[in-house]
């Protein structure tokens, strides 16, 4: 069994059976460390003989083993004298620490005896004398190495009776303030540790915690011991007089006091000193008094003792009894190890501190922040945080995470609602827009053939009836020619992804309406979804205006052609006149020849042949003219570009001659062909040539020259280049050449190049004009070779 365990046992005993304490301590320590014969018999009263023999043998062995080191191992005896009895917690606290420390730290065994003098509660001299006699009788013949005195009350007793039971044994005291010792002359071999009593510090603490206090009540008992505490405190109390109203209760009836403190104003500081007895002579234990007063008081109570803490007192400037005991034990050990007690001066316990009871502070609502630095806060209920920090963190985290999730969910819900709302709004808007714009939505299930169509869509198809539509009932409403196209649009099989098919629908009055079917099928997800969706758009008006615009455009183009030809009418008439002239002359020659007696028939035949030839020539001019003048639907045909240039040149021949303009051609040997409308392209060419002629009005006749070139490029386009030696394009005109109604001529409409540009664009080509390096302008028309063009649309 270790010493520590033994101490625990001892502690248990003090709790359950304090009356046996002295005996038990003596017995335990004795049986362990000494092993002397008489102790032994006392220790084993109930052992049977068998065990006894064994023990005897063991003891003999132990005696032998320890004999040679007896000089060093002889126990030192210490007598602990308690001024009070063990019910005083201070007593227990001080002595327990001192006892343990003595045993633990001493290099030699220590044998401890203890006595409770109980002098404070029984202050009569007779009692003291009896106790002295008792000790004398009890320890006669017993030598002590040291007396440890606990509590100041033992000092006067020791001074007076020490010689009677322990002469010349050095004394180490613990407790009692310097003031207590003031009236005594201590012998040289009496030394120890003063407890500190610093009322000034206590009041400082109280004032810091209660800055608004107006009253100070000081409570003290009526016993001599109490009086000495009161004297010690007087100066500190009186110093507070200017600020605080001082009330002292040093002689009181305990019950009356308890009644009084329960009616104190809350701005009162209550300072409780010791109360060992009241004015009625009632014997009291200060700690219990502190408990009562603190409980009854209507204002915070402060006190000088550690034991008050925990009884409801707020706090004070105190040492702990344990520290007092430890300090006293330090001095005792020094003396036991041979130091002369007179060399050790009595000194104040160095382990002082502000101490407060956290619960009491909470009760009065006192703030921790007001505490002086270094204050020890006791009875601080470890908060949830300190006790279960990790758990708290975990729980908090869980709660936090849940909260976050909750918030996220709420947020999401809100978002969802908002989205829903905006979706509804959006749908509403969409519906409104769809209705206003004549748009119907549809969805088609390829697997079942079921077709859903929104209300405006049904109206478009002239089908008011509710219920399911099918592919066939839908197609029935479409004009027969467009059914194939409509079906492929519905099934999402249009060639280009997400494009529209324009179909004609027969409306109720037999009127034809154009409906554009726009489909959007997820071709990539054919396996996943069999549904195609899209919209019907009524584009009748659009088609009508498109047609009208196209008609207007054609009209304008035609007018331009007529206008060009009008300008050229003289030259064109000349072109017809030439063959007519030839025909007439040939005919008259033939007639004359036939009138002769021997007509030259070969010559007549020749003349007739020429007439036919010239007639054809005139006919072709007329045909060309008619082609250019007629208003017809654009056609799509293969056009030999070289031939077309020859034709244009022929038509303009006489105009070119009369304007003294020379035309040179450099035509591609590959005979480039394009697909399109020959009249429109001829119009472009005529326009470019006429422009070139106009541009050369101011050019000297010898230099008037138009150069026409055709060629096929590697990129599959046919280029027609018309260049002249005229004045070229002015920089300020270059940007507006193709704008409608922009002209540089004196009497031009400004539509020629605009129409050329439109025609070429419709043929999928480009046209541009620029200045040549050697002066003059170059018009470059680029057309796709042999491609199906949109001119026919």
């Amino acid at each position: 069994m270790g010493l520590r365990a033994e101490a625990h046992q001892l502690f248990d005993w003090t709790i359950f059976n304090p009356r046996f304490l002295l005996l038990k301590v003596a017995h335990q320590t004795g049986s362990w460390f000494v092993n002397s014969g008489d102790q032994q018999s006392q220790a084993s009263p109930c052992c049977d003989t068998h065990v006894r023999k064994l023990l005897l043998a063991a003891c003999a062995l132990l005696l032998f083993m320890t004999a040679h080191c007896r000089a060093n191992d002889a126990p030192q005896r210490v007598l602990i004298l308690h001024a009070y009895n063990y019910t005083f917690p201070a007593t227990t606290a001080v002595s327990e620490v001192a006892r343990r420390q003595l045993i633990e730290r001493s290099s030699r065994p220590i044998e401890i005896e203890a006595e409770f003098l109980d002098l404070a509660r029984f202050p009569s001299e007779a009692h003291a004398a009896r106790v002295a006699q008792f000790l004398h009788d009890k320890y006669e013949g017993r030598h002590f190495d040291l007396i440890l005195s606990m509590g100041f009350g033992a000092i006067p007793f020791l001074i007076k009776y020490r010689d009677q039971f322990a002469p010349n044994v050095p004394v180490v005291f613990a407790g009692g303030t310097k003031d207590h010792f003031a009236g005594y002359k201590l012998p040289n071999d009496v030394t120890g540790v003063f407890s500190s009593f610093d009322p000034d510090k206590i009041l400082e603490l109280a004032e810091r915690l209660q800055p608004n206090a107006r009253h100070l009540m000081v409570i003290g008992g009526s016993s001599p011991n109490d009086r000495s505490w009161q004297r010690s405190a007087r100066e500190a109390i009186e110093r507070r007089a200017p600020r605080l109203e001082i009330i002292t209760r040093y002689d009181f009836s305990y019950d009356a006091l308890l009644a009084e403190v329960s009616h104190l104003p809350s701005d009162t500081i209550v300072l409780l000193l010791t109360v060992y007895s009241d004015a009625d002579g009632r014997s009291l234990i200060p700690q219990l008094v502190a408990t009562d007063i603190a409980k009854a008081a209507s204002a915070p109570v402060y006190g000088p003792f550690e034991t008050f803490l925990g009884s409801g007192v707020v706090g004070g400037y105190t040492e702990t009894y344990a520290s007092l005991g430890a300090s006293a034990a330090d001095v005792a050990l020094e003396i036991l190890s041979g130091t002369d007690p007179s060399k050790i001066a009595p000194h104040v316990n160095p382990r002082q501190a502000f101490r407060v009871d956290a619960r009491a502070m909470d009760r009065w609502g006192l703030k921790r922040t007001d505490l002086p630095p270094g204050t020890i806060v006791q009875f601080h209920e470890p908060g949830l945080w300190e006790q279960h920090g990790l758990l708290v963190v975990a729980v908090a985290s869980v709660v936090l995470i849940q909260s976050v999730l909750l918030i996220a969910l709420l947020f999401q819900r809100r978002q969802l609602r908002r989205t829903q709302r905006s979706l509804e709004e959006s749908e509403d808007r969409l519906n409104f827009a769809a209705t206003s714009m004549n748009i119907g939505f549809w969805q088609f299930d390829r697997s079942t053939g079921a077709l859903w169509v929104s209300e405006p869509g049904r109206a478009m198809f002239n089908a008011a009836k509710k219920g399911l539509w099918t592919r066939d009932s839908f197609l029935a409403a479409v004009q027969p020619d467009d059914r194939l196209l409509a079906a492929s649009a519905l099934e999402g099989n249009l060639k280009v992804h997400s494009r529209a098919a324009d179909v004609r629908v027969v409306a109720s009055g037999g009127e034809i309406r154009w409906v554009s079917i726009r489909s959007r099928s997820n071709l990539d997800e054919v396996s996943a979804s069999d549904s195609v969706s899209g919209a019907f758009v009524d584009i009748t008006d659009q088609k009508a205006s498109e047609t009208e615009a196209e008609l207007h455009r054609q009209e304008v183009a035609h007018l331009m052609r007529v206008s060009v030809l009008g300008e050229l009418s003289g030259a064109i008439a000349h072109e017809v006149n030439q063959p007519l002239t030839a025909i007439l002359s040939n005919a008259q020659a033939a007639l004359y020849l036939l009138e002769q007696d021997t007509p030259n028939l070969a010559e007549v035949q020749d003349a007739l042949r020429d007439i036919v030839k010239e007639d054809n020539r005139a006919g072709s001019v007329v045909r060309r003219l008619r082609g250019l003048l007629k208003k017809g639907e654009p056609r799509a045909e293969l056009i030999d570009i070289n031939e077309m240039i020859g034709s244009a040149a022929a038509l303009l021949r006489s105009e070119l001659i009369s304007r003294q303009v020379r035309v040179e051609t450099e035509l591609s040997a590959s005979r480039p062909t394009v697909f399109g409308d020959s009249v429109q392209l001829q119009q472009v060419l005529l326009n470019l040539i006429v422009n070139a002629m106009d541009a050369m009005a101011a050019t000297p006749e010898k230099q008037r020259r138009i150069w026409i070139c055709t060629r096929e490029t590697k990129t599959g386009t046919t280029e027609v280049i018309v260049s002249d030696s005229g004045h070229g394009i002015q920089p300020r005109d270059s940007k507006q050449l193709f704008s409608p109604f922009y002209t540089t001529k004196d009497h031009g409409l400004g539509l020629g190049l605009t129409i050329c540009s439109t025609i070429i664009r419709k043929h999928g080509g480009t046209i541009n004009l620029q200045n040549g390096e050697a002066g003059g302008a170059i018009a470059r028309v680029s057309l796709p070779s042999r491609l199906m063009l949109t001119a026919a649309q």
Binding site: G570, A573, H574, N577, Q578, P579, L580, T581, A582, I583, L584, S585, N586, Q588, A589, Y592, L593, E603, D606, A607, D610, K613, E614, R617, S654, L656, I657, S658, Q660, R662
Partner: protein, 208 residues
């Protein structure tokens, strides 16, 4: 066929027309020379050949009027007939002032055409005969000696033999011989004839 035969020079850039007109004139017995290019015509033009030019008014390179001017510039009195598809008045006036025989519009009737050609032929003949008589006078004048030419100038001026002898520092008889030779060489019988001849040849009398 000799180069003395009346020839119609046809110039028209339109081959069909050229051929047809040519055929018509040939049928009527005219000799023709067709040209499609005015410049080619100018380059090979021989003034000595009697005939006329039938010109198209509107041609590339050189139009009819310009061609007419080019012809007169090189001293030719070639008769010109214009043929045009679009004859306007200012052009026709210019052409006529420059001495054109006619200004015909296409398609042209054979009678109009033939009349114009005949007119041209007549004018050309006139000019040519005038030129021929002048040529014979000039040839005869060339036969006279310088002394005879001198005497002739005095005679044309109306001087008497005596006056002429005094002027030339000789005797009247010598003058008489010279006078007889001049009359003989020039083929005239009277002084009046001589004077007329001298006028046509542009010879003025001395001192008159």
């Amino acid at each position: 066929m000799t180069n003395d035969e009346f020839t119609v020079f046809l110039v028209d850039d339109d081959e069909g027309v050229l051929k047809a007109i040519g055929r018509l004139l040939q049928a009527r017995g005219y000799r023709i020379q067709p040209f499609t290019s005015p410049t080619a015509f100018l380059a090979s033009h021989d003034v000595s050949i009697p005939g006329c030019a039938l010109l198209d008014l509107s041609m590339p390179d050189l139009d009819g009027l310009a061609l007419q001017q080019a012809l007169s510039a090189c001293g030719s009195e070639r008769q010109v007939i214009f043929l045009t598809a679009k004859g306007d008045i200012p052009t026709s006036v210019r052409a006529m002032r420059a001495g054109a025989i006619d200004f015909l519009t296409k398609p042209v009737n054979d009678t109009d055409l033939l009349r114009a050609v005949q007119e041209a032929e007549r004018k050309d003949g006139e000019i040519r005969s005038k030129a021929a008589s002048l040529n014979s006078i000039i040839t005869k004048l060339a036969l006279l000696t310088p002394r005879e030419q001198e005497v002739m100038k005095h005679v044309v001026a109306g001087r008497l033999n005596k006056q002429i002898a005094g002027e030339l520092g000789t005797v009247e008889k010598t003058i008489k011989v010279h006078r007889g030779r001049v009359m003989n060489k020039l083929g005239v019988r009277s002084v009046a004839d001589l004077v007329r001849l001298a006028e046509r040849a542009g010879i003025a009398g001395v001192g008159s």
